[in-house]
């Protein structure tokens, strides 16, 4: 499955700077009962986005006019911690989120985003705090993320960011990771033969 390539995207950035937003909060349990990926936009941040009577919660950032339809979220430390559920990333993607910008992300969540073409940008905490303040103002919430030049452009400022070349290439080209790996099938077979010969109890 090829992914939508990520080169340069402009859009609103919604701030959500609380620490330790876990994947249970991003995608609650009642939305995990499917055997496909559909309908997860409904479940995204469900208990925060909706009031008990089912109405949209006006206090939640993605419900506010200034950040409705955001392409990015600027998030607090350890975003995506907890459960491995990839449903959290599928939901973000279905809501139109193309990149998350934070100071640290949980490991499994990081890999899940990468495998779905969602860019994760890690910035130092002071830089992130400043960016968070800028996008918290409705009039400066519009930003541009350029993966090729590794820059976030906001009003009056350019913030550079780092990313591994391997991850960047996969995102820019929208590569099918499994297809790429299977091109190395002969190498895997050779390794496997040697590995199982040396450790026969693994057979």
């Amino acid at each position: 499955m090829s992914l939508q390539p990520f080169t340069q995207v402009s859009g609103k950035a919604a701030p959500m700077l609380a620490a330790n937003i876990d994947t249970d909060v991003i995608m609650p349990k009642q939305f995990l009962k499917g055997i496909d990926r559909s309908g997860l936009d409904r479940g995204l941040f469900f208990d925060l986005r909706f009031l008990p009577d089912g109405q949209a919660n006006p206090a939640f950032v993605l419900n506010q006019p200034a950040w409705q339809g955001a392409s990015f979220m600027v998030v607090g430390p350890n975003f995506g911690c907890g459960s491995s559920r990839e449903h959290a990333v599928w939901g973000l993607k279905q809501m139109g989120i193309r990149a998350l910008i934070g100071s640290s992300f949980a490991g499994i969540f990081y890999d899940n985003c990468q495998r779905n073409g969602v860019l994760l940008i890690t910035l130092d905490e002071p830089v992130l705090q400043r960016l968070g303040q800028v996008v918290s103002q409705p009039e400066t919430a519009l930003i541009n993320v350029d993966l090729e030049t590794q820059q976030i452009r906001l009003q009056g400022e350019v913030i550079p960011f780092e990313i591994d070349t391997l991850r960047k290439t996969a995102l820019v080209l929208g590569l099918d990771a499994i297809g790429s790996t299977l091109q190395r099938s002969e190498q895997i077979k050779a390794f496997e033969h040697q590995h199982l010969t040396a450790n026969p109890w693994l057979s």
Partner: protein, 473 residues
């Protein structure tokens, strides 16, 4: 590169098919994977759509654990249509791709991280990846286990490999004797409280020290299991004679000459004496007290003798806001003694703490006593084998006599994907691993602690210091 290597390095080096760049990415060979019904469906669908096969079906073991009911009378039928569809699709996938499935009526069924060691499916030196974050549990056997998402499950099924980036290493040294009543749960909760919920993000943790050596293999699993709650993407403990004794004669463990050969190889599985770690932390186990969480992140934990902390005392703005939000959700006042917190539910279960030793520990606390009038107390054994064993030992009778529900095995109220769900405002003393908002039910409140502490709370109806609970049988 120096010749001295950590146990983590040894696992990665011995499983590297090839290096992919000079930034630490390798193609990593995976020896085993465990598959459940809820994170795997889209991976199998992906294989079907791309007309790809499973590389080595015999290296995968599937089990139903997350969505199944735990009602005492076990039947195959499920009233939850979504869960039932996941279970039937798992069966269909296992049949079509040649993967062994332990279905709901199988005597070997249970929570994946309980049954995989129980079956001898996990061996020292292995690298295991699975679609569940608590795959770190397998570190207690000298294996390297880590959680992955569904796309990675598909990648692994198709190629037996993952594109993997090498982690940094953190060594946690735990020395000293645990006071009576304290368990390995208190050790890992204290560590998480100390280093924070992202304190080990980007790291693999190796645990060592006299405290670890003295623990049973099952108790060690509790520590490795919860390492992920500090952000660790892997936990290690060098395998010793206890591990070899635990594994010997397990159904899938090697036998005869092969066993001898394997053990000889496994004895080399330890960090070299002069291996360097990127970071070191040490913990004095003799100074620990029983731990409980008061917030909505596993690092929001304190000794039971403490009071609910006051956000005013926190200088860091984000942490202060975090604590306020947590206390509001939990319905707690700053300054109140933790031992004054009244519960409505007590739950002993999960891949963290529902093995036979956990149940023995809890039973020794409740023997001859009664669950408090206002508390609903449940025991959900980690596996059907654990359940059978507990019945054979008379533990089930102790729990039932005390007023606990004695249920069938599954993940159950740890994440409440099945029908074991708390209502808004319910407050649960829980032997599980996550106290996240809504984890056990929307609006429900979770306090994490050891199984013995849950048992004591069930009896008194409030959070209780196990050390002052009175004589234990």
């Amino acid at each position: 590169m120096t010749s001295a290597r950590t146990l983590y390095d040894k696992h990665i080096d011995s499983h590297t098919v090839c290096r992919l760049d000079d930034q630490g990415h390798v193609l990593l060979y995976i020896d085993r994977q465990v598959i459940n019904e809820y994170t795997s469906p889209q991976a199998f669908s992906g294989l079907r759509e791309a007309k790809r096969g499973v590389w080595r079906p015999g290296t995968a073991l599937a089990v139903v654990d997350h969505v199944n009911p735990t009602a005492p009378n076990r039947i195959a039928a499920m009233s939850d249509a979504g869960g039932a569809r996941q279970v039937s699709y798992l069966a269909e996938n296992c049949r079509d791709f040649g993967i062994e499935l332990l279905d709901i009526l199988d005597k070997r069924q249970g929570i994946e991280h309980v049954i995989a060691p129980e079956q001898g499916f996990i061996l020292p030196g292995m690298v295991i990846a699975a679609g569940d974050s608590h795959t770190t549990t397998y570190g207690a056997l000298g294996a390297f286990g880590f959680g992955i998402g569904t796309s990675e499950i598909e990648h692994l099924l198709a190629s037996q490999t993952l594109v993997y980036k090498r982690l940094k290493t953190l060594r946690v040294t735990v020395d000293g004797e645990l006071a009576p009543g304290l368990t390995s749960k208190d050790v890992i909760m204290a560590l998480i409280g100390r280093i924070g919920a992202s304190g080990a993000t980007g790291y693999a943790i190796e645990f060592r020290g006299s405290t670890i050596d003295a623990l049973s293999v099952e108790a060690r699993m509790t520590i490795c299991n919860m390492a992920v709650e500090a952000g660790a993407r892997g936990a290690f403990m060098a395998p010793d004679d206890k591990v070899f004794a635990y594994l010997k004669d397990k159904p899938r463990a090697p036998k005869g000459v092969l066993w001898e050969q394997a053990v000889q190889t496994w004895r080399a599985l330890h960090s070299d004496a002069d291996a360097l770690f990127d970071r070191e932390v040490s913990l004095d186990a003799s100074a620990l007290e029983p731990m409980v969480t008061w917030g909505t992140s596993p690092d929001q934990a304190s000794p039971i003798g403490a009071r609910v902390p006051d956000p005013q005392d926190i200088s860091d703005l984000i942490l202060r806001q975090d604590m306020r939000r947590a206390l509001t959700y939990m319905g707690l006042e700053a300054g109140m003694p933790l031992s004054d917190i009244v519960i409505s539910h007590a739950f002993i279960g999960s891949c963290t703490n529902a093995r036979i030793e956990d149940l023995r520990d809890a039973a020794s606390v409740v023997r001859g006593k009664r669950v408090a009038e206002h508390v609903r107390a449940m025991i959900v054994p980690g596996s059907t084998e654990v359940r059978d064993q507990a019945e054979a030992e008379g533990l089930a009778a102790i729990f039932i006599d005390a007023g606990f529900e004695w249920r069938q095995s599954g993940c159950s109220m740890c994440l409440a994907m099945n029908d074991d769900v708390l209502a808004p405002g319910d407050r649960c003393a829980s032997s599980t691993n996550r106290n996240f908002e809504g984890r056990q039910g929307a609006g429900a409140r979770t306090h994490l602690m050891s199984p013995a502490m849950v048992a004591a709370a069930a009896i008194t109806g409030r959070l209780t210091d196990i050390r002052h609970f009175g004589a234990r049988a």
